[in-house]
C-alpha cells in the first residue's frame, strides 16, 4: 500500500523516521503510526496464521476489537498490532496459532 501524497482535507505530518524489524527484515516507518500501518506500507498483509485453519489472517477492524492482527512483538505474543505504535528497534514476527509465552 502507498502513502497518500495529496489529500483535499487532510495533512499528514511525518514524524521522525525509525526502523522496526519484521521477520528479520528492516522496515522504515514513522514514529506515531501503528505497527500495522508500517507493515501495510511495506506490502505485508499476512499478519498471523489462524489457530485452527492455519489460513493467513490480515487486518480487519483496526481498532483493537477483532483479534485478526495479533502478532509477536518484542517476544510477547498476542499483541494487537493495530493499536500499538511502532518504536525504534521493535521486533515484530508473524504469530502461528496462539503464540508462545517466553520465560523472562
Amino acid at each position: 500500500m502507498d502513502r497518500i501524497k495529496n489529500h483535499p482535507i487532510l495533512d499528514f505530518e511525518k514524524n521522525e523516521k525509525i526502523t522496526i524489524s519484521f521477520e528479520g527484515r528492516e522496515i522504515e516507518c514513522f514514529r506515531g503510526e501503528t505497527i500495522v500501518s508500517a507493515l501495510s506500507v511495506a506490502g505485508i498483509t499476512t499478519l498471523r496464521e489462524n489457530v485452527k485453519t492455519h489460513r493467513p489472517q490480515g487486518l480487519f477492524c483496526a481498532i483493537g476489537k477483532c483479534s485478526s492482527c495479533l502478532m509477536e512483538v518484542n517476544g510477547v505474543p498476542n499483541v494487537r498490532t493495530c493499536i500499538v505504535l511502532v518504536e525504534d528497534g521493535m521486533t515484530v514476527r508473524r504469530q502461528n496459532g496462539k503464540g508462545v509465552l517466553h520465560e523472562d
Partner: protein
C-alpha cells in the same frame, strides 16, 4: 488494591466518554478516563465529513475537529487519562476494576461510579473466503487512510450502501483509491440521498439487490464474485459476476461492544432496532448494576451526535447522585439534553431508534 482519589471511571474516550468527562469535570468530579487507542476521540478521529443536523449537534463541523472541541470543555486538572490502556474486568459490588495499563502492567482500582462508553464493532457477513487478508471493515479502511495516511488498496469493492458505505466510498476517491463497484443487498440505497448522489456523480457504479458470493485469492484478495438477489433475498443463479479487485471493504453495520457490561453482570435484552443484544438501561443511562452507567454505541448503535448527548446524560445523572450540583440545576440540564436527543431522533432516519427506545422503556430486564 489502590486507594483511589477518582470518583468516576469512564471507559472509552470517544464522543460519549469525552462528553461524560466534560459534564463530570464541570461539576468538580474527579475522573479516570481509560482508552485503548493511542489518541482520544474514538472514531471521530477519522470522520473527515461534515456532520448534519443543527448547530448544537455540531452540524457543518468535520468529525475530526470535534475531539479537540470536546477536550476544551474538560478541566484537565480533574481528568486523568490512561491512553493505550484496556479495562479487562469489572467486579461488583465494590466495582473493583482491572486495568491493563499501557498494555504492559495490570493495575487494580475501585470506583463508586463507572460509565461504559466502549462503542461498537463491525459486523461480518458470510461468504466464501471472507477471512482473506485484504478484506477490511469500513472503519479499518478509514483508520488506514484518514488517520495514518495510507491508501488501503488500488481497486476496491465496497459492500453495503448505508451511510458509512457511501461516505467511505467518497473518502476513498479523495485518498486516491479506485472504487470499482458498490453493491447493496437491499433493493434500494440505505443512506442519505446527498451522499449517494455524490458518489454516483463521481462515476462509481452502484448495484442494489446484489451481494458478495466469494472472495478470490489464496494469500490475499485478487478478486470477488458478486451475485444478484431476488425479492426474497435468494441468490439468482446465472447472475454471478467476477470483478478484479485487490481490496474488499465491508460496510455491513455495527454491533454494540458491551462485553465489560456483561462481565459486570449487567442484564441484557434483545432490541433489534438498537443493534441486537444490548445491556438494559434506564433513561438515566444506568444499567441493572448499581453505579454502572452506559452511553453511546455500546448501548445501541446510533450516531456520534446522540452518543455525545448520552455521555452527557450519564455524567449529569452521576453528578446528581453525588449531589455535586443542586437537584434543580441537574434536572434542568438533564431535561435540556433529553430534548436535544429527541430533536436528533425526530427525522425519518431516527424512527427506528425511537421505536427501539420505546421497546427498551417498556421492558424490565427481569
Amino acid at each position: 488494591m489502590k486507594t483511589d482519589s477518582f470518583d468516576v471511571l469512564v471507559i472509552g474516550g470517544g464522543p460519549a466518554g469525552l462528553c461524560a468527562c466534560a459534564e463530570l469535570s464541570r461539576c468538580g468530579i474527579k475522573v479516570l478516563l481509560v482508552d485503548e487507542g493511542p489518541v482520544l476521540g474514538g472514531q471521530l478521529v477519522k470522520q473527515t465529513h461534515k456532520f448534519f443536523g443543527s448547530r448544537e449537534h455540531y452540524a457543518g463541523v468535520r468529525g475530526i475537529e470535534i475531539p479537540d472541541k470536546l477536550q476544551e470543555e474538560i478541566d484537565e486538572k480533574l481528568i486523568t487519562v490512561y491512553s493505550s490502556s484496556t479495562v479487562v474486568g469489572i467486579y461488583p459490588p465494590n466495582n473493583n476494576v482491572l486495568i491493563y495499563r499501557d498494555q504492559k502492567k495490570v493495575e487494580e482500582h475501585s470506583f463508586k461510579y463507572i460509565i461504559i462508553a466502549t462503542g461498537a464493532s463491525e459486523n461480518m457477513i458470510l461468504f466464501e473466503n471472507n477471512d482473506l487478508p485484504g478484506i477490511y471493515g469500513a472503519g479499518a479502511v478509514q483508520t488506514l487512510m484518514n488517520q495514518y495516511g495510507i491508501i488501503p488498496g488500488k481497486n476496491m469493492l465496497m459492500v453495503g450502501a448505508g451511510n458509512i458505505g457511501l461516505i467511505v466510498s467518497y473518502q476513498l476517491l479523495q485518498a486516491g483509491c479506485r472504487v470499482k463497484k458498490l453493491i447493496e443487498a437491499a433493493p434500494s440505497i440505505g443512506g442519505y440521498l446527498v451522499h449517494a448522489s455524490k458518489i454516483i456523480r463521481m462515476g462509481i457504479p452502484v448495484q442494489t439487490s446484489t451481494t458478495i458470493l466469494k472472495a478470490i485469492g489464496t494469500e490475499k484478495v485478487e478478486g470477488a464474485i458478486t451475485v444478484k438477489l431476488d425479492e426474497n433475498w435468494n441468490q439468482i443463479e446465472g447472475t454471478e459476476e467476477e470483478i478484479e479487485v485487490d481490496t474488499i471493504c465491508l460496510s455491513v453495520g455495527l454491533a454494540p461492544s458491551y462485553k465489560l457490561a456483561v462481565h459486570a453482570g449487567c442484564k441484557q435484552i434483545f432490541i433489534r432496532e438498537l443493534g441486537g443484544m444490548i445491556p438494559w438501561r434506564n433513561s438515566s443511562q444506568e444499567t441493572s448494576v448499581n453505579g454502572i452507567y452506559i452511553a453511546g454505541d455500546a448501548c445501541g448503535v446510533e450516531e456520534a451526535s446522540s452518543a455525545m448527548i448520552e455521555g452527557r446524560l450519564a455524567g449529569l445523572n452521576i453528578a446528581k447522585c453525588m449531589k455535586r450540583l443542586s437537584e434543580k440545576a441537574c434536572n434542568e440540564k438533564i431535561d435540556d439534553n433529553l430534548i436535544s436527543l429527541d430533536k436528533l431522533r425526530s427525522g425519518p432516519f431516527g424512527e427506528r431508534i425511537v421505536e427501539g427506545i420505546r421497546k427498551l422503556e417498556g421492558k424490565s430486564y427481569e
